[in-house]
Symmetry: C2
């Protein structure tokens, strides 16, 4: 199994992943966008508990890592939407495993 | 697929998981311990770049979440070891998926 021995080479790739996904918000934002492109306020409402300043910073970091794309539509006033990229969607399995683990963790610690 | 629609109920379990694993160190510490029980200095060396103060704080948080166990052996001087619990080991799939994603992310962004 992968984790046997805690191989340093595997440690590096996990470090890379954790750096790109650092903080408690990025995966939640990606998860919200996995349902389709959304506007700033929609993301904010779905994620919940995030300030506009932090969300704005997180969106920029996600864009820099090519995990989401900012789309500006030429309407009046201009419409801005954020969409998950194929690279962002490739995190689906990570999110899935985190979801299942979160369920079992809630049972274990919080007692359902 | 799980992520279609970004269902709010799934969002909650992912939030639970991210809260327990918050920060850039916890999963790396668990990964180091997945190879077997280790002493403080060994963990520090394997994880790399972590200060003693932060490592100590992270170990306490992991213990509170029942992800690791602190074992004190009655030697002289006393020996302290940290071991991953079955609940901590249940994160193996999350670590595996993060590992694979980290590899693909490095190719995508850092250019191999």
């Amino acid at each position: 199994m992968l984790t046997s021995g805690g191989c340093p080479k595997n440690m590096l790739s996990i470090k890379d992943a954790l750096e790109a996904l650092e903080g408690k918000w990025k995966l939640l934002i990606l998860f919200a966008l996995s349902g389709g492109p959304k506007r700033f306020k929609q993301i904010s409402a779905e994620v919940g508990g995030i300030t506009d300043k932090v969300l704005s910073k997180e969106l920029k970091a996600l864009e820099a890592n090519q995990l989401i794309r900012r789309q500006v539509y030429d309407t009046f006033p201009p419409t801005v939407e954020y969409a998950i990229t194929p690279h962002g969607l490739s995190l689906e399995k990570v999110m899935e495993e985190l979801h299942y683990w979160g369920l079992s963790h809630r049972k274990q610690i919080i007692g359902k």
